[in-house]
Amino acid sequence: MSVAYPVVFSALLFSVGVYGVLARRNAILVLMSVELMLNAVNLNLVAFDVWLRDALHGGQVLTLFTIVVAAAEVGLGLAIVLLLYRNRSNIDVDRQDTLREPEQEAR
C-alpha cells in the first residue's frame, strides 16, 4: 500500500480539525476539533511507523502517548470550560474577550 493514502487522509483530517477550531464558537466543539487534529497526527505516526518498520516503534508509542495526552487535555479542558460556564454562563469561545488590548494607548 502506498504511504500516500494515510498521509493524505491525515492531512485532510488535520485541515478539517483546523477548520473546526477556527469556525466553531462552542468551546466543546473546539475541543472536538482539536481531537480531530491530534487524530490526524496519530494516523501519520502509525503509518510511518509501519512503513519504516521502526524497531523502536517510536511512532506507535508516541501515538499511544498522544492519545493519553489528548485524554488529559480533554479532561482538564472540560474542567476549564465548566469553570468558564460557571463564571460567564456561556462557553462561546469568541465571546471571551474581556482581556484585550485597551483602546486607549499610553499618552
Partner: protein, 488 residues
C-alpha cells in the same frame, strides 16, 4: 537482556526530587498543612533540586535512557536524557526561577483564595516537565515533557476560580497551547516519517533527499512553530498579554520565565541537535521570527498603561532578542545557544525582579496601572529603586550592566552569523525598548501618591534574591557566564 533501560538515578535526580516532592506535597495538602508551610516546603524541594543540579555541574556528561544495545542497530547510542552543560544551565535557571515564583506566590495565594496544596503541586509538576524537557534528546520525551510543562499551567492560570478573567485567560492559554501542540505533533510526525527516527542524533544522521526534503522542511517549520508559541514569538504571541494579565502575577512570572525557558530549550535542542544539516531552513526562519517578534513586542509595549500587560509585551520583545542568536545557522549554533542561554539567565533575574515588585503593587492596587507606580521610590525606596534598576537592566543600559552584557551576548552571536541585518533591526528595537522602560522608571521617581506596598518576608526575600543577583551580576557577569561558556 534487560527488560528495562538502565537508569542513572544521579542524572535524573533533579527531576526525581521535584516529582517526588510534588506527590508528597499533594499528600501533605490532604493533611491540612498550613498554606505557608506548603509554600516553604515547595521552595525547599526546588532548592534541593537546585542543589542536585549544582552537584552535577563538576561531573562528566551523563547519558541515560539510551537505546538498549540489542535495538541499537547501526550503533548510535541515542540517549533520551542527557545531562550536559546546557541541561544543567537550563535546569538551574528553571529551578531558581521557580523558587522566586514560589516566594512571590507565598503571600499571593491567600488574597486570591487559591488552594495552596494543589497550586504548589501543579507548579512542581510543571517544573518537572520543564526539567525533563531541557534534558530531552528525543522527540517523544520532548513532546511529553512539553505537555507536562503546559498542562499544569492551564490549571494554575485558572486557579482564581471565581475570577472570570482568570478563567478566560486559562481558556485562551489552553486553546492556543493545544492547537500549537497539534501543530508541533504534526511536525514531529513529518520529521519522523522522513528521518525515520525520534532521537535527535539519529535524525541528524539520517540523510533525507529528494521530494522528502520538502516534507522534512515542513516538519521542521511546524516543530519550530510549536515551540515558538511557547516563547510567544510573533505571530504565535497573541495569547501572552491576555493570559499574563488574567493570571495571578506569580503565574505570569512563571510563564514569562520558566515556560519560556522550556520553549527556548526546545528550539535550541531541535535545531542544533536534530537538524544541523537543515540550517538553511531554520536559520532564516528564526531570524525573521526574531525580527518580527522583537519589533511587534516593542511597539505594542509602547502603548501599554497596565503594568503586567507591559511586562507581557516586553517579554515578547525579549523573546525576539533571545531567538536572534539561534538564527546564526549550524556553524555557530553553539555560540548562539550559549548567547540565548546567557541572555535567558540574565533575563530571568531581571524579569522576575520586576515581576516581584509588580506583584507587590498588584496587592496594593488591583488594576495595577502604570499610574499606580508614580512616586514609588518616595513611598517604598527599596522597591522603587530596585524596580527602576530592573527596568534599566531590561533596557540594557548602564548602570544595569547585566542587561548590557546580555545584549552584548546576543549581538555578538548575531554578528557571527549570516544575519547581519538582524543586528540592525535589533539596534532599532533596543531604542524602542528603552523608551517604555525608561518612561516607567522615570515615573517611579516622579512626585505622586499611592498606597504603600505590602511587606513580608517572602516579598523581601524575592526582591532580595533578584536584586542581589542583578547587582552582583552587573559587577561580575562572569559568575553566570562561566556556566554558559564552559571553555571561555
Amino acid at each position: 537482556m534487560n527488560v528495562i533501560q538502565e537508569i542513572d538515578y544521579a542524572a535524573v535526580a533533579p527531576v526525581l526530587i521535584v516529582a517526588v516532592a510534588a506527590v508528597a506535597l499533594l499528600l501533605a495538602g490532604a493533611f491540612e498543612l498550613g498554606r505557608k508551610w506548603l509554600g516553604w516546603l515547595t521552595a525547599l524541594a526546588l532548592s534541593a533540586g537546585l542543589i542536585a543540579v549544582f552537584t552535577l555541574i563538576p561531573g562528566e556528561v551523563r547519558r541515560t535512557f539510551c537505546v538498549p544495545e540489542t535495538l541499537r542497530g547501526d550503533g548510535l547510542e541515542s540517549c533520551s536524557y542527557v545531562v550536559d552543560q546546557f541541561t544543567l544551565l537550563f535546569q538551574g535557571v528553571v529551578l531558581a526561577a521557580a523558587v522566586v515564583v514560589v516566594l512571590m506566590s507565598l503571600s499571593d495565594l491567600e488574597a486570591a483564595d487559591i488552594p495552596a496544596g494543589e497550586y504548589y503541586f501543579l507548579l512542581l509538576c510543571a517544573v518537572t516537565g520543564a526539567l525533563a524537557l531541557v534534558a530531552a534528546r528525543d522527540l517523544v520525551l520532548l513532546f511529553v515533557s512539553l505537555e507536562t510543562l503546559s498542562l499544569p499551567v492551564f490549571a494554575m492560570v485558572a486557579l482564581k476560580r471565581y475570577d472570570g478573567r482568570a478563567t478566560e485567560a486559562a481558556v485562551k492559554l489552553f486553546l492556543v497551547s493545544v492547537v500549537s501542540a497539534a501543530v508541533l505533533l504534526f511536525g514531529v510526525s513529518l520529521v519522523y516519517g522522513t528521518a525515520g527516527a525520534m532521537h535527535f542524533d539519529r535524525i541528524a544522521a539520517a540523510s533525507v533527499e529528494g521530494p522528502l526534503e520538502a516534507v522534512l522542511t515542513a516538519g521542521i517549520v511546524m516543530v519550530v512553530v510549536g515551540f515558538a508559541f511557547k516563547v510567544a514569538a510573533v505571530p504565535f504571541h497573541f495569547w501572552a498579554p491576555d493570559v499574563y494579565q488574567g493570571a495571578p502575577v506569580p503565574v505570569a512570572a512563571f510563564l514569562s520565565v520558566v515556560s519560556k525557558a522550556g520553549g527556548f530549550a526546545g528550539i535550541a535542542l531541535v535545531v542544533a541537535l536534530a537538524f544541523p544539516e537543515q540550517d538553511h531552513v531554520w536559520g532564516p526562519l528564526l531570524a525573521v521570527l526574531a525580527a518580527v517578534t522583537m519589533t511587534v513586542g516593542n511597539v505594542m509595549a509602547l502603548r501599554q498603561t497596565q503594568a503586567v500587560r507591559l511586562l507581557a509585551w516586553s517579554s515578547v520583545a525579549q523573546s525576539g532578542y533571545m531567538l536572534a542568536p539561534l538564527s546564526v545557522g549550524a556553524g555557530h549554533i553553539g555560540q548562539g545557544i550559549a548567547a540565548t542561554a546567557g541572555y535567558l539567565a540574565f533575563y530571568a533575574v531581571m524579569n522576575l525582579g520586576a515581576f516581584a515588585v509588580v506583584r507587590g503593587v498588584a496587592a496594593a492596587s488591583e488594576e495595577n496601572l502604570l499610574a499606580d507606580y508614580t512616586g514609588l521610590v518616595r513611598r517604598n525606596p527599596l522597591s522603587g529603586l530596585l524596580l527602576a534598576f530592573f527596568l534599566i537592566c531590561l533596557a540594557g543600559l548602564p548602570p544595569g550592566v547585566m542587561g548590557l552584557i546580555a545584549k552584548v551576548l546576543v549581538f555578538k552571536a548575531v554578528v557571527t552569523g549570516p544575519v547581519l541585518w538582524l543586528a540592525a533591526v535589533m539596534a532599532v528595537n533596543v531604542v524602542i525598548g528603552l523608551y517604555y522602560y525608561l518612561v516607567w522608571a522615570v515615573r517611579l521617581f516622579a512626585p505622586g501618591t499611592g498606597r504603600l506596598l505590602p511587606s513580608g518576608l517572602p516579598y523581601k526575600l524575592a526582591l532580595g534574591v533578584t536584586g542581589a543577583g542583578a547587582v552582583v551580576l552587573s559587577v561580575v557577569p562572569q559568575l553566570l557566564l562561566q556556566a554558559v561558556f564552559p571553555t571561555g
